[in-house]
Symmetry: C2
Subunit: 415 residues, 2 copies
Amino acid sequence: MYNFAVIGLGYVGLRVAYNLAKNDYNVIGFDINEKRITELQNNYDHNLDINTDLLSLVNITYTNDPEQLSKANFYFIDIDTPINQQRDPDITALKKACETLSSYIKPNDIIVIESTVAPGTTEDILIEIFECGSQLKSGKDFFVGYSPERIVPGDLKHDLSNTAKIIAAQNKETLHEIKKIYEKLINAPVALAKSIKVAEAAKILENIQRDINIALMNEFATFTKKMDISIYDVIDVAKTKWNFIPFTPGLVGGHCIPVDPYYLISQAKDNDVETPLISTAREVNNKMVDYISHLVLDNRSPGKVLILGLSYKQDIADVRNSLSIALYHLLTSKTKTVMTHDPIAYIDKASVNMQDWEQINNIDTLIVTVAHERFKHLPKTELLKKLNPNALIIDIPNIFHNMFTENDNVKYWSF
Amino acid sequence: MYNFAVIGLGYVGLRVAYNLAKNDYNVIGFDINEKRITELQNNYDHNLDINTDLLSLVNITYTNDPEQLSKANFYFIDIDTPINQQRDPDITALKKACETLSSYIKPNDIIVIESTVAPGTTEDILIEIFECGSQLKSGKDFFVGYSPERIVPGDLKHDLSNTAKIIAAQNKETLHEIKKIYEKLINAPVALAKSIKVAEAAKILENIQRDINIALMNEFATFTKKMDISIYDVIDVAKTKWNFIPFTPGLVGGHCIPVDPYYLISQAKDNDVETPLISTAREVNNKMVDYISHLVLDNRSPGKVLILGLSYKQDIADVRNSLSIALYHLLTSKTKTVMTHDPIAYIDKASVNMQDWEQINNIDTLIVTVAHERFKHLPKTELLKKLNPNALIIDIPNIFHNMFTENDNVKYWSF
């Protein structure tokens, strides 16, 4: 019988801990973030991913005391692997967590990494840290596996429970043990990768594929816009072909799609492999902020600007790498009055001049960045009340399509 | 009642003519290529797309005499729109066909363009040609529609009959007439595009999306190869995610995917829109020829080289823009003995030193470029008989995966 510890309690780790606890396993939830631990001890998840009622029903020992890890013998590592300001991979936190864990590794322990990393990282870097700290030999004394997390925050249809899981391990016995556990946690296939490196690469490829496909839609949308047609009209008919994939343009943010490609790019560079396509897709997606900024600033005075939406995608609180925030900072550097509003984003309001909806009025430029459900249902009259005559509405997610007529005296823009 | 003429009898035009004739319409099949007309009069389609038995059952008047067009009042234009040596769009043949037709346009005639063109081409260029030659006014005297062809040569599951058709036209009445006809020709939805430009853009976007996704797999495959893992193993597990799209690496040829992006790139350039992603994808896919060539030439003498497969994709005769041919020419310029073999490619054998299978022996470097069904079933013993000891096998489509062991004394390479 295993005692589990989940190291890192973001979206991913909390979900794993929760699903383990639902199966009545003993679960320690470890995170160095005291505030997060206190919130979780009160069954509050600020990501709004698992609600308090559900968290109250399970028994997880939340702690920021690493000593507690000594009670476990099966560990999941779910530490965020971000990029730094220079957009280089930064696995400092992951390495630190592995180092912390290494002091508590005992013979026969199993460690499963779920963090997204460049192919080779687990075997070339992390295992060395474990061995160094524990003075034990991996593959002999203790055992390491890798299983990329595939959680899509805010997706109500696909979660940990019903999404196929890829697993890989140092040897067949460990693979078998890991498979047994995941098969309890999820109601979806568990796919065996040929090696840890293959599993690491698979996760990165998945996200790069999305990045590239959104980048194509962004690039194509700037073209169709120039040709006076709507890319949404184009996609509407293109998707009638069986093999067309209806991605849409938009601001690419978050902790996966705009991050993982840099792990690949960096690893490829270290190995003298060129990645012009993957790099270009990143540039195209990042440049959408400039594109929108030009729409706001060119040929007119932007007046009072409101950015509606700060989360990196619809209906989630997460603002990591949100391009709406990048847009806020860019516009702030170029014009006087820029404010933001987002009822669910988890962020320091002062840092982005966030205003309550009631206080907002006399807007000259409204930029809708994200299709939060509650934005979609804003009545037209309420929206118009917030706007000055002749206001410009830039509707990136196309949620107010067909809403405004000439009589409304606004200038509506969408791709 | 309409009398139809199909102008341009390639894959696409012949299929349209055939489906019209199957519906007992009067059909003139017009092409300027005398040889093609003679072959078709004998019910022989060198593309091997529609077989002689089927062609014998329908009644199509094949002709290269433009005067015959005067008997029709509903025209489909299916002229190839290729690129030239500089990879610029070349719509000379299309414009010439429109010019030819223009002399025969009568009041109330309907013309449907099916050729792939840049958005705006039909309205800005082709309609002018029709009006100029006919001295009639489009949209008033005669009517123009656009419906992009979506035929995938060699695809047994998806053909004209069961693939949704996008249509657009100058006015609603014409759209309705065109819809009625296509609904007789196909057993799939007919999707109405908002404008001709939208329909033109949709077709190009479909093919660019494929180009980009294959380019990603090519770029990623060069990375995984360097990391000593197989991209096929990576795709195998990545595709267990519901939204992963299992494209594979390979040589991108043919008359669509490596061509249509240049129509977009050129049009975008004329309109001051940058397309770095679409351009980079093209470069990545074209550069695969250099990549393979390096595999052949670097670090060893290539000896006698055989390229197995010349068609641009599996199980079709078409060699247009085949990168296998580009590879042949590149290798020929760098090493002594390069030969090719392809039992179904429609090509002048001397131009690519094509050899009969029986004559082939003592090969030192075998490059499999395309997964023809008959290549897949080549017995290992027969293959080995053709090879010298220590031969290098480069298997781009991965069809001999797991076939060879150390005892076979060959060096097997695949992504």
